[in-house]
């Protein structure tokens, strides 16, 4: 545990009135999105998009495929169902290229976020923090106790 970093986090006003347990729970609930490799095909998209959303995505892909060889190939892969690692087909929604294309696709922001979410997962910001960790970072409990020293 990096107690210096924990001390800085606990100095934020939102933790001031929390008990050690409440502060530990709050810190353990903090998450950040993380980009991961996640190959998805239209089959996967059908599971998460509405009909109008899927039609919009298909239209955007078709239009881009007409002017970009890369998108044209990607479109074919998108039509092939595969696994999360890309075996069989699909495109990687965690890859920088796909995510950049989405940014310039002209699709609604909400739909772009939904599609990007296919290539993201949330991870906790901190390793698990206990109430004791909070107490030690706050200085209300010693990190080291020495025999013979009260």
């Amino acid at each position: 545990m990096n107690y210096d970093a924990l001390q800085i986090e606990l100095a934020k006003p939102s933790y001031a009135t929390m008990t050690d347990q409440e502060a530990a729970d709050a810190i353990n609930s903090l998450t950040v999105p993380e980009t991961v490799t996640a190959f998805k095909s239209y089959r996967s998209l059908c599971a998460v998009l509405t009909d109008p959303e899927l039609v919009a995505v298909q239209a955007a892909v078709d239009a881009a495929a007409a002017v970009s060889a890369r998108v044209a190939v990607s479109k074919k892969m998108l039509e092939l169902p595969g696994d999360e690692a890309g075996n069989g087909g699909g495109i990687d929604f965690g890859s920088a290229g796909v995510r950049e294309w989405l940014d310039y696709s002209g699709l609604p922001a909400e739909l772009i976020a939904k599609l990007k979410g296919l290539g993201e997962r949330t991870s906790t910001v901190w390793e698990t923090v206990t109430p004791d960790d909070v107490a030690m970072a706050r200085g209300t409990r010693p990190k080291v106790q020495i025999e013979g020293v009260a």
Partner: protein, 154 residues
């Protein structure tokens, strides 16, 4: 003439942390520094350790343990990886690590042994780091003892 190498004697325990001492109310992830063991004069080559944990705040996490680190005194300087006095937060590493005391995941009295640990010809202090997921209860009782011994040619 053939001689046998035997243990020198059945060792007596020496208390390095007393029942009302540094283990009391020790937080998870915190460390307890023992009293000094005068092996610079005793010169024993081996030691067994007995950790007695009399109570926890609640049951420890499964797979929990206490780390034993031995920090030697060279002259008047402790090799603590920090400022040499073992008074602040020591920098405990594999360099000081001597073994572990596995903890039963139950809130009950536990005597845990660690045997056959080589020790050097210096005075030293032991540091126990709580890695069992729970604090020791804020009551007297937990202790830490060392039993030093060596071989003897007979």
């Amino acid at each position: 003439m053939v001689s046998a190498i035997l243990w020198n004697a059945r060792p007596s325990g020496e208390e390095l942390i007393a029942a009302a001492g540094a283990l009391k109310n020790l937080a998870n992830a915190a460390s307890a520094v023992s009293a000094e063991c005068a092996n610079g004069t005793g010169l024993y080559p081996l030691a067994d350790f007995l950790l007695y944990l009399h109570d926890f705040a609640s049951a420890p996490t499964a797979g929990g343990y206490f780390e034993l680190h031995i920090v030697y005194e060279f002259g008047a300087i402790m090799g603590d990886g920090e400022d040499g006095d073992l008074a602040g937060t020591p920098n405990l590493t594999a360099n000081t690590f001597a073994g572990i005391f596995p903890v039963n995941a139950a809130d009950e009295d536990q005597y845990i042994q660690l045997v056959g640990v080589p020790i050097g010809p210096h005075d030293f202090k032991c540091v126990l780091t709580n890695k069992c997921g729970q604090a020791i209860a804020n009551t007297d009782g937990s202790t830490f003892n060392i039993f030093r011994y060596g071989y003897e040619s007979q």
